[in-house]
Each structure stands twice: as C-alpha cells, then as structure tokens.
Amino acid sequence: MNEGSFPILTALIATPLAGAVLVMLANARRPEIAKLVGLLTSVATAALSVWLLASFESGAESYQFVSKHPWIEQWGISWHLGVDGISLFLVVLTAVLFPLSLLGADPHHGHKQYLVWMLILEAGVMGSFLSLDLFVFFLFFEVVLVPMYFLIGGWGYEDRVHAALKFFLYTAGGSAFMFVGIIATVYLARDSVGEITFDLVRLSEDADFATSTGRWLFFAFAVAFAVKVPIFPLHTWLPDAHTQAPTAGSVVLAGVMLKLGTYGLLRFGLGLFPEAAYWARPLLLTLGVVGIIYGAMVATMQKDLKRLVAYSSIAHLGFIILGTFAFTSQSMSGSVLQMINHGVSTGALFLLVGWIYERRKTRLIAELRGIQQVAPIFAAGFMVVMLSSIGVPGLNGFVGEYLVLIGSFLTARWWTVVAAAGVILAAVYLLWAYQRVFHGEPDDANRTFKELTLREGMVLLPFIGLIVFCGVYPKPMLDRIEPSIAELIEHVEENTDFVSPEPARAGIDE
C-alpha cells in the first residue's frame, strides 16, 4: 500500500529526531534559537500528523501507510511501520501534546538539553505507536525510558532523583519480562509461521501456540504493559513520578506514555495471544475495577493537587482496562477514545496545576483558596478541564466512559456495576478539590494570584477545543476507530469460543 509515496510514518519519527540533533548543535549561549528550533520541529511533526489524519481512509480495515524495509535480515527484523484506527489518534495526540507542552511549560534552566530530551522522547513515543515489528516496538518502548528518566531527574521537583529512579526500575523491570517474551514468541512461532520473523502482522495471523505456552507469553507481555499503564498493584511508581516530574514531563507521561501500556495490551496482548487474553480476562477486569475504585479513593485523600491528578489517572486508566477486556465493540472503542480523552484532559490538568505552582510555588490544596475571585478566567478554564475529567455529558470524558460502561455491561456485568461507582467518586474528589482551591475568600497569599496570561490561554485553547469537539461530535473519531476494533474482536472470536454479544456488534451510530 502506498508504495513509493512519501514515507509519512518514518517522517513522523525522523522529524523530532532531526530536531533533537539540530537543537544539540545550536549555540548553548542563545537558548532562544534552540527553543525556536525545538518548537518548530514539534509543530512540523504535529502538521504531519494532521495531514496523516486527513488522508487516513475511514472505514478501511487493517493498516495504512505501511512502510516496510528489511533491517536485520539475520533475525527476521524489518523496519515495519503502519497505522490503523487504534493507533491513529494516539499518534495525533502525541504530535499535538508535545508542542503544547513545550509552549506551556518553562523548564527554567538547561533549555538545550531539556529540548533534546523532549524531542527524543517524542520520537520514541511515535515509534512505539507506529511500529508493527516486535523488535522495533521494543526498541522504542525501551528508548523512551532514557529521556523520561533524565527529564524527571534533571528538571523535576524536590525528590526528583528518587522518583526518576523508581520510574526507571519499575518500567525496565517490566520490560525485562517482555524482552524475553518477545524473543520466545518469535522462536516458538517459528514452526507455525515458517520462519523467524518479528513481524507483528504475520505473527498474529499465523502463530499458533500451545494453550499454556500462549498464556505464559501473554503474562510476559502483560507484566511490562501493566507496569506502564499502571494496573493496580503495579502502580506505586506513578504518583511519585508524576508529582516530581516537571510540568511538561507530567503532561507527556500522563498524556501519551501511560497509553503505551493500554495500547500495548490491545495491540500485542490481544493481537498475539487472544486465547490467553480471554483466559486472563477475569483477572484483568478485576484489577481494572480495583484500580478505578482505589485510585479514586486515594485521590480524594490527597493534600497535593498534582498527586491528586496522578491518582485520578490510575482510576481513569482502570476504565480503559475494563473496556479493553470486556471485548465488545462499544467498550473497546470507548477504551481507545478514553485513551485520547484522558490524554487531553489530564494533560491539560497537569498544565494548569503546573501554572498554579509557578504562581504560588506550592501545590498543597490547603495553601490555595478563593482563586476564582482573583483569576476568573483561569478558574473557568480549570473548571472545563475538570468537568471533562469527571465525565460530564457534552464534554469528551463522558463519551469514552459511557461507551466503556455500556459496552462492558453486556459481557462483564458486575464489574461494570462496581466501576460505575467510580464515576461518582471522580466527581467527589475533583469537585471537592475545585471547591477548596477556587471557592471561598482568597487570603493574602492568594490575592495576588495572576490571571491566565495570553500565552497560557493560547496553549489552553486547543485543549478546550478538543474537549468540547470530542464531547459533542465524536463520530469522526469513532468511524476511524471502529473498523480496527471490529477486526480485533473478530480475531479474538476466531481464536476462542468467545462470541461478542449481538447488540454490541451493531455499531454505535445506528
């Protein structure tokens, strides 16, 4: 497909990388040049992704814009990229979030290195979402750790080194399982596929594992992704990493990097080992629901605004896990949609919390009060984003959560009943936090709270635009996500005795 045409997927990875090299070469004494180059390349990447979005054929199954070149032939490894409805919006989200977070958050020192790491991180995340080769995927999945480690460790807050280390050890430990799992998958599939290949498409079509083998391999992959998501009880790195990371780091971490885990479960967990994924369903559903309730309850108790948002991420990602393993068209489309929604609204929340910190040098809820009176526009922006995170109808968070819940109800009824309580809890912790921070009479420290600046407004506007647009008119997104999801469900049905319930097959917009 698209032979000889512009290799847009490779360009999506290469552009930020080239930007990183250019920034590295820029004069260290003039950070404004580096900033400009960094911003321009990330904007160029975003433009490429928008072009990708525009030329993506909706309704088509399987991968588009595929580019495939042999790389290490001895090991059956090729540079194989492709995009489908599941990864399309994650790619666009990545490309859009990076320039916004570069614009919205100032690192205060070491601009050059900061930009280099950010751009390498962008290339890594892009590569992970685009690769259709297990080896290439693992390369990018691993490489992402290095810039993130340095971003947290170099530009974070008080306890940054500890948090960076915890983040690195957890994720790298998970990846160690996947590393062995990937190689084992390839070698064990050699007989059924006919040769050694790391090609995801061929492996998921032809590979045939013994039941217990498949389950072990699924487990090896699932551990790596579960750490990344993070699924309860592997989540303990997340609050630290999020709280200590610099603002842009938190935005990217919550916005796209956590999605590497949920995306990985969908693409690799379900794609390669449908039987095992079906078998492990009760466990993952339970952990997802535990995550929803646990994340929400702990978030309610937080004193630190950023930590609160971090725990709310655990709850939101629990919904995504629930939707993924409910195996219905609605729930899975809802999950993919929720990945995007969470990226947008939590990304924006972290930006706003970062701006509060810039002004007040504190994130403690108890120190903040009455901001609405002194900075009404700031408060309004915060409220829209917060409502979207709660899942208020008309905003994007509602669509995803609603689809997940309605779809999961058909196949995972009792889990869904419990999960629905999480929606209410989300309202509790977010509204209560909003009330404490923005309502009331401002004291002396908060009286000088600065109103939203123009630059901040310009950054926030796209977020709010996306929040409203996806909430009101999600159809264009669902049109592109659904066919890929349908294909995935078919794949699961072929390999297990699972049958997707009839009403869930009918699609959503009828």
């Binding site: 490489v143 790298a172 160690a176 190689i183």
Partner: protein, 510 residues
Amino acid sequence: MIAQPVSTFTGPEIGWYALSPLLVLVAAAVALLVAGALTPPWPKGGYAIVTVGAATASAVLAIIQWQNISDDGPSTLVAGAVSFDLSAMFFTITICVAVALVALLTDDFLRRQALDGPEFYALYLVAAAGGIVMASANDLIVLFLGVETLSLALYVLAAADRRRSKSQESGLKYFVLGSFSSAFLLYGIALVYGATGSTNISRVVVYLQESVPLERFDALLLTGVALMMVGLAFKIAAAPFHVWTPDVYEGAPSPVSAFMASAGKVAAFGALVRVLIVALPFYREDWQPVVWVLALVSLVVGSVLAVVQTNVKRLLAYSSINHVGFVLVGIESAAHRAGAVDSGPGVPSVGVYLLAYTVMVIGSFGVVAIASRSGDDATSLDSFRGFATRRPVLAVAFTVFLLAQAGVPFTSGFIAKFGVVQAAVEERSYAIALIAMLTSVVAAFLYLRIIVTMWMSEPDDASVELAGAGTSNSWTGTLSIGLAAGFTVAVGIVPGWLLDAADDLTQFAR
C-alpha cells in the same frame, strides 16, 4: 637407543602464512623492545603508532585468512597444535581491536604520567599474542602456554605504574592469585591427559567418541574438567572466582584495566569455548549445569555488588562481572548443541557480545583514565560530579558507553544482549535468560548512577579542584574514545554485517 640420529627428526610443517596474524604481533613486540632499548626516546606517540600499526596489520591479515577459511573450511596448523578456523580469526580480530584502542589510550596516559617508553606496548603485544594462542589452541598444552604468556604480561602491566603503590599491590595480588589459578588449570590438563591419553583436542574428542563409556576413566576426567573450569573461570572472572577483579582493576593503571577487562577476557572466553564446546561436547551434561550456575552467580553478584561501590573503576569491575554472566548465558546456550554439525546461535552470540563489550569497556576505562588526571587516582564517583560541565564531549562519550553497557537500544550493547538472550531462548533456557535481563535492570541502575553524577550533580569543592590542571589529553586518547563511541553507535544501528560475520563461528577445526 640412546640418541636418535638427528636426520630422522622432521619438524611439523608450519603454516607461516596462516600464522601471520600472530607472528606480526610477536615480531612487533620484539622489535619495539630491542629498538626501544637501543635508541633514544622516540618522538611523541611513536611507540603507540608502531603498536597500532602492528595490531592493524594483524587484524587485516586475520581478515584475509577469514576469506581463505570461508573458502577452504577449517583446518589445523603445526601438527594439529593450533586450530585455523573462523572462531580463532574472530577472536584474533577482537584482540587486535583491543590492542589498537588501548595503545592509543596508553599513549595519552603515559604522557600525562611522564612514563613514556616502549615497555607497555611490547607487553600489550606479547599479551595479545598469548591471548590469540589461547583462543586458537587445539592442544591443551598450547592453550596453557597462551594463558601463561598472557597472564605474565598482565601481571607486569598491572604493576607498571611504578610510582603508585596501589598499582604495585594490584600487580602482586593478581600475580599470586593468577598463578594459583594457572596451577589449577595445569593440574586439570594433566588429569585430562591421564584420562584420555592425549592433550591434543582433536585426539581427546576422537578418544571420547570411540571409547565405550565403561572404558573411560570418568572420575579422573571429570576431576580434570572441574579443575580446568576453575582455572578458566578465574581468568574470565566469573563469580565466585571474581574476588580479585575489583582490587586489581582499581589498582592497575586505567588503560591496563581496560586491556585486562577486554583482551584478557576475550582470550579466556576463547579458551573456554575451546575446552568446553570443542573438546568436551560429550560431557556437556556434566559441565553445562556448572556453567549455568556460574552464569547465575556472576549475573547476580556483578550487578548487586556494583550498586554499593563508590569508586568508578571498582564499579566497572563489578559490571564486567555482570557482563561475564551474560557471555556465560551464551556459552550455556551453545552447550545444548555442542558437538553437533550446526551448533546453534550460542557461539556467534558470544562472539558478538565479546566484540561489542571489548569496545565499550575500553571506551569507559578510557574516559576514566583521562578524567582521573595525572596520578590516576581521581576515580571516586564524587570526582565525576559536574563532569559534564567540565568536559562535555567526554561526558557524552561516557554516557554512550554506559548506556551501551546497560543495553539501551541503538547501541551495540543492546544488540549484544539481544543476541545472547535470543540464543538462550532458542535453546529454551528461559530461566537464565529472564534472570539475565532482570539483573541488567539492576545493572542499569548503577550506570545511571554514574550518568546522574556526571550530568545532574552540582560539583562540590573536591571536584571543583579537579577542574584545574592535569586533565589535559592528547589526540590519541580522543581518537581512541571517538572510535569506540562511533563503533558502539554504528553497530547499534546497523548490526547486520557483524551478525553475518559471527554467524559463521559455528564450525571448529578438530
């Protein structure tokens, strides 16, 4: 009967041309010693250039022989005493690479310490010749000669920094323990000779193949194998025979530590492959579990003990033990098919690992050598505080080497680790493969510790003082580190050619 007439003695046919890589090194060593003693001090870098020239010539000759062997198949030389196969040539080239890189570093080092003279270089060349003999021996006595030639040169080199008492201590420790282990090796060889009636590997194999198990002196042979493994495990510094390594590496001049960690280990692994895979495939069920345990203990000890070190040289010493564990994983997987016509991916993965490791460990010690300035003693972790601001280019190179050692993608270290784990998984040694990857996460932590110290720690008083004079370095050191860093990245991105070459390492001369 008392004296045979002289005329009936015919010496074995000596393949001068086939032995040329070895002979070039010996000739250069002799020439350096003689000419160096008789002439006034040579102009700057003169000795190093001759050494690099000899190593390059030797490597080129080995590559030419590679072609010949590929065409004609493996054979033996000097009446079956030396094997002439691709494996021997691969190890020859690796050792030559080590000599060339270390010689450049040494030039830099000796000028800083005002110790310039031909002795270091002559000893490197002699040691390299010994190492090549070890890796290409087809007779256990020849193997022992190689071990002694290498070891004696290394004992002297370790103590060669005459003004530092630590260097003397290191030389003495290495000498006492090293000769002890040589005695084990020799005793083992004697017992194997007693059990099989020959020291020639080809004849040992034939004997073991033909004799009915009942006729064998099993106890004698097994004791011999055990003693040989103890001797060789000491030389490769596999835990629990590793205790000398940190002390010796810390005390020896930094370039010599680089040489010991690279060429010394490569040669010893070459010998281990000869003894275990080539000579004793019929006893693999007996020695394979031992290799498994050695690998496990080395992996764990190397990574865990490295975490608590505060001296960079000791830290690298422990990390080298972890690397030894990885190579042993490769040997363990080669064991599954030892003696078969297609001996599987084990030995090639060992070869690739050793070459990649050689280059990155020399680079690491090279940076340490330059950073530790005149006196060669500023090697504590604290002296690397703020290194990135003092020497940004060196810091980048060091970061590359450390990331490569950690096995981060797009470096040779990742390809090396991937190859070894792949080999292990192909032979279904899942447990050791997983353990290896998990210990590499722990090891990654310690490499990150150095990187963090370089990039993120503010310099304290002691390290500010270091920023003064004494850190100058000449172009030779820079060239060596540059070449090593270039190789590390290049192999990480385009590894095909190396894997191709290593794939042929499966056929041994018998």
